[in-house]
Structure formats: C-alpha cells, structure tokens
Amino acid sequence: MPEASPPSRGPSKFLLAILTLGSLAVVVACLWDHPLGRWLFAAAAVTMPVAWMALGAGSGGRGISKRVAWSLGMVLGLYAATFAGLLWLAGVEGGGPRVGGLPVATVWMLLGLWIVPLAISTWAFVTTFDRHGLSPEELAALRSSAAEDEKVSSQEAAR
C-alpha cells in the first residue's frame, strides 16, 4: 500500500467565513427592500468570488503565494472601486462625461469589471500554476498511488 500522505492544513476559516457571511448578506439584501441592501449585495458580490479563488489557490495546504495574494487583492480593490463608482454614477444622468465616445460609467464598468481583472487573474493563474495548480511531482505521485490501489484491488479480487 502507498504510504499515506500527512494530513494537510484545512481551508482558511477566514475565507470560509467570508463565503458564509456573504451568502447570508445576499439573502438579506434580496429580501430587504432598502437602499442599504444594494451596498450589502455589492459588498458580497465583490468579496465572495475573490475569497473563493483564494480558497482554491491555497487548497491542499499550499497557502497563498505573494503573487496570488497581490493579484487577488488588486482584483478585489478594482471590483470594490468600480461598484462604488458605478453606484455613485447611477445618480448622474447619462452616466457622466464621455470618454472615448462612451459615458465614463460604461468605460469604468468595461475596464474595472472585465478587462483589467481578467488580465490580472489569468496572469496570476498561469504564472503560479506549478505552486497553486498541479506540479509534475504531484501528478506523478497521484498516478502512482492510483496504480498501486488498482494493483491491490485486483489482487484482492483474484483471491
């Protein structure tokens, strides 16, 4: 039998708490027809995806590298600033002055919620894949354990 690997650290309780509180905040915001509800929903909508990505990147006891932490921090900052800006610009008729022919609110949305965070999160994933994704050693170890398992179960079946 392959040697059992030591149990890894569990997922971050802080990130799990964000997901739990975020989901409750969304439920409250959806049921509570109050202007504060939209801020509550916005706060949950920007923090939850970032927390979930951090949870995935740091899973298996890997922890979060500085590069991923900074990248996700920047994405969170961008989302927060963009939603706050858009909520503020919602009160400005036409979405504010024009930038490149489009209202500044539209341009802010396209850059702050789409193009820039896409570039950051993709770059962070690609460049940290060996640490936060799947290293060749991990894959080899997993395949060898699976082969051992199969051998043992076929021997047991033969008996």
Binding site: P11, T20, S23, D33, W52, M53, V75, L89, G91, W114
Partner: protein, 508 residues
C-alpha cells in the same frame, strides 16, 4: 428583409448544417464505448477544450439573447458577462484541477458521478442528477428557442407560416441537432464545439467592426441612444439603466454560479493531460471576451439605428442580432455569422443533450442501485426525450431567450455550485449538507421562478423580494448559506470516511 431574398445567406446556413451532420457521422464511427460517448475518450488537448468550453457556454443565449436583452434593459445587461473576468480562473482553481484528478483515479463521466465519489452517497448523486435534468431542460429550451428564432429570421418562415412558424422552426433545428448528437455523442459534441467556437470568434470580431461602422462609432451611437425618448439618457449608465439589484444579481449568479455548470465542468474530464490546465484560463477567458464583442457591438448599434429611425422599433427584442446581420452586413458575412450563431446554439444544445442523457441513463439508475446494461443504446433514446421536453418548455415559456437561459443557469448554479465548488475544497462538508443544499437549490429556484412568472392563479402569493432581484440569486445564496451553516455547526467537525484515492485528490 429575410434570407430567402438573399440566397447566399441561406446557402451558407444550409452548408453549415450539412457540415454539422458530416461531423456527426464522422464522430459516430469513432464512438465505440460509453467513455467515447460521454467524455470523448478523455483524449482532447487544452486548446480544443478551451474553445469548446467557450462555445458550449456562450450559446444562443449570448449571441442572440445578449443583444436582445441589451435592447430591452440597456447596458446593465452586460453584467451577465462581466463576471467572466474571474470565472475561468475561479473554475480552474476551485474545481477544475480536482475534477480532472478525480477522473484520473476513478471512472467518472458525469457531474453526478463526481458528486457520488466526493460524498459516497447514491442519494446525493441522484439529487444532483435530478438537478442536472431540470436545468438541462431549461437550458436546452433556451437553445431551441434561439434556434427557432434564427431559422424564422433567416428563412422568413414567420411571414409564410404565421403562428406555426416558431414551433416548426424549432422542430427543424431540433431534428438536425438530434441527428448528430444521437449518432456521435460527446466526440461529435466536442469537435463541433471546437469548429463552432472558431467560427464564433471570427464572427464576433467581424460583426463588432460592422456594428461600429453602421452606428457611426461609439460617439455617434451614444448621442443617438441617449438623445432618444425610446431609450433615454440612462440607457448606457450601468447601474441606472436597470434596477441595481438586477445588475448585482447577474454578476453574482453568472460569476459564482459558473462552478455548478455541468456543460463546463464536464469538459474537465476530457482533457488528456491535466498539466495543460495551466493554459485554460487564458484560452477560455480570452475567447469568451472576444465573443462578448458581438453582444456589445450589436447591442449598441441596433438601439442607435432605431433611435435614428433607420430601423423600426423591434417587436421582439431577440430579433436584434438577426435583423442587424441581414440588413447591415454584407451577404457573405451575414451568412458566415448566421452560421456562427447556429454554431453557438447547436454546440451548446449538443452538450446539454449528452449531459442530460447521461444523467437519465447513468446517474439516476445508479442512484437507485439499478445500473443499466446498455447505457449507450438508452443514452441515444434519452437524447430525443430530453429535446422534446425542452422544446415544449421553450414554446410555453414565451419570453426572451436570455431570461430562459438565466433560469436554467441559475438552476445549475443553485443546485450544484455549493456542493461541488465548496465540497471539493472543504473536506468537512458532509453528504447530508450537500444533499440538503442541492435539494433546496433546485426546489427553491423552480418555486421562485414559477411564482415570479405564473399568471394563472392571481391569488397565489407574490415573491417577497426587493425590486429587480433575479430569483436565481436568492436560490444560489440560500443553497450556499445552508451548506456552510450545516457544515460549520454539524457533527462537531467529524469527517465522513472517503475512498482513499478520492481522499488523496482532495488533499492535493
């Protein structure tokens, strides 16, 4: 104008349908067993997988429904696709690696299979299979509706057939779809997805260019739209053109909800080399972004043309994309793009037909402890039954493609995203918590959608929701909250025993 007056457009659309059938026939010869049928023999590369995932996720819902929704609710409709800035990375970090590794150590063909191996519970697998079938019927319905609307626009059947036009157009499209889905299974699906994805990318770029040209550039389009009474000054103000909670709800559901989409998760099993996952966010996020250009371009150009009086106001917002193509782009491009949209619709529909048939003939019988002996044979029959149910639902739903798509996306999201997206990362989540979360997500989403839409019983209660909230946001959040709360406070942290191989994947 319709395409019968333009033989080039009709010929290209027909040529595409013939090509699709040819791929189905070729794929049928390569489909020798259930592994080929359900997960394309686990032998595809990351570029094919990425583009195929994009085309399966960006369907008629995005290509036809997107511009239609923008026409109705303004730039806020784009919140559906803004979350693609993180969904590819989220998918890969949270579930992609582990799903692919599960498929490395155990025989896993479907999402409910993964649920079974994670929780070791046939009951939870059965619940997941039911959620997959319910969501699939809705999603496939959105594709068939898009297919019907496109066939109507391209072949001008509305003028010829009147009220029978839509059901006949949907039926014609369904027959072609079933012909290659039944024959080729996922081998046909993944390669047609890839070919179609490439076509969609080219189409999106070309149409975006024509949209800017027809509208006179961003400045001119903005002037026309914001100066018109029909659309008003806030049409292009993201959180003013629609209720704020609608926009936030779209961002939330289409972001986190991606973790529960079987047509995307399923593709992870097919990847030949798990290490190639490194490139998936680049390919998937990049190709999705290119396709959103069509939504943005046509979504701005059509209201601008209507505002200037160059185009009559649309009676059916979903006609925005086909009308623009047929009236404002060269015939060759219109033909290619119509084929591209057909491609988008067909590829997604094909993925769903296969996923639903797997849930019906593989997951549900296993959940009841009675696996079928001839899965491949029954799988082909199940595709027809699912397509028929989806067609009936789409016709009865009688609303925008994007809204039907949102309901279906939300069903998958609410039912599966917490149990899989968090269950694969958090070892403490129990089968009981996962089962309750899946059941609550599915039932709540169906109930809220029914109460929001039904008009047969005026005395039934109205939804107690804040203005503009998409019902799917509530069901997703509630399902996640239940899973988290049951896990935090359940069984004092005791963990259920897992298959050692699965345990190793969860620890990796």
């Amino acid at each position: 104008m319709n395409a019968l007056a333009s033989p080039t457009v009709a010929a290209l659309a027909l040529a595409y349908l013939v090509l699709t059938l040819a791929i189905g026939t070729w794929a049928a010869k390569r489909t020798r067993n259930a592994k080929d049928f359900f997960i394309a023999g686990q032998g595809i590369g990351v570029v094919v997988m990425g583009v195929a995932t994009m085309s399966a996720s960006f369907s008629g819902f995005i290509f036809l429904g997107g511009p239609g929704l923008m026409y109705r609710m303004g730039i806020a409709s784009l919140f559906i696709s803004m979350s693609l800035s993180f969904t590819a990375a989220l998918l890969c970090w949270a579930v992609g690696r582990r799903l692919r590794l599960l498929a490395e150590v155990r025989e896993i063909y479907t999402v409910p299979d993964a649920v079974y191996h994670r929780y070791r519970s046939r009951r939870v697998q059965g619940l997941a299979a039911v959620a997959v079938v319910v969501g699939t019927v809705g999603y496939l319905g959105a594709q068939l509706l898009a297919l019907g609307r496109l066939v109507e626009a391209v072949f001008g059947t509305r003028e010829m057939l009147g009220e029978w036009s839509l059901p006949i157009a949907m039926a014609v499209g369904s027959v072609v779809l079933l012909a290659y889905a039944v024959a080729g299974g996922m081998v046909a699906g993944v390669y047609t997805d890839f070919v179609q994805g490439v076509l969609m990318l080219g189409a999106a770029v070309a149409v975006f260019g024509y949209a800017l040209r027809s509208g006179g550039g961003f400045s001119a389009m903005t002037e026309s739209i914001t100066g018109s009474d029909l659309f008003g000054p806030d049409f292009l103000n993201p959180l003013a053109s629609a209720p704020v909670l609608t926009a936030l709800g779209f961002f939330f559901v289409f972001g986190i909800g991606t973790l529960g989409q079987p047509h995307m998760l399923h593709k992870f099993y097919m990847l030949k080399d798990p290490r190639q996952l490194r490139w998936l966010p680049l390919i998937l996020g990049g190709s999705q972004s290119v396709c959103v250009l069509l939504w943005l371009g046509v979504g701005l150009a059509v209201p601008a043309l209507v505002a200037r009086g160059e185009l009559a106001p649309l009676a059916t917002p979903d006609d925005a994309a086909p009308l623009f193509l047929l009236d404002y782009t060269p015939e060759i491009l219109a033909g290619v793009v119509v084929a591209g949209i057909l491609a988008a619709v067909m590829s997604t529909a094909d993925s769903f037909v296969n996923i639903a048939s797997a849930a019906l003939v593989r997951d549900l019988p296993r959940a009841f402890g009675r696996p079928l002996k001839r899965e491949l044979f029954w799988g082909r029959w199940a595709t027809g039954i699912v397509a028929l149910a989806a067609g009936v639902l789409a016709y009865a739903y009688d609303d925008l493609i994007a809204l039907l798509g949102t309901f279906a996306f939300g069903t998958f999201a609410a039912a599966l995203a917490p149990a899989l997206g968090l269950g694969l990362l958090w070892r403490r989540v129990t089968a009981r918590a996962a089962g309750v979360s899946i059941a609550v997500g599915t039932i709540l989403n169906l109930t809220l959608e029914l109460l929001a839409r039904q008009s047969f019983f005026p005395s039934w209660p109205k939804l107690p929701l804040a203005a503009g909230v998409p019902p799917t946001a509530v069901s997703l959040a509630a399902s996640l909250a239940i899973l988290c709360l049951m896990t935090w406070w359940g069984r004092d942290g005791a963990e259920e025993e897992l298959d050692p191989a699965v345990e190793r994947v969860l620890e990796s």
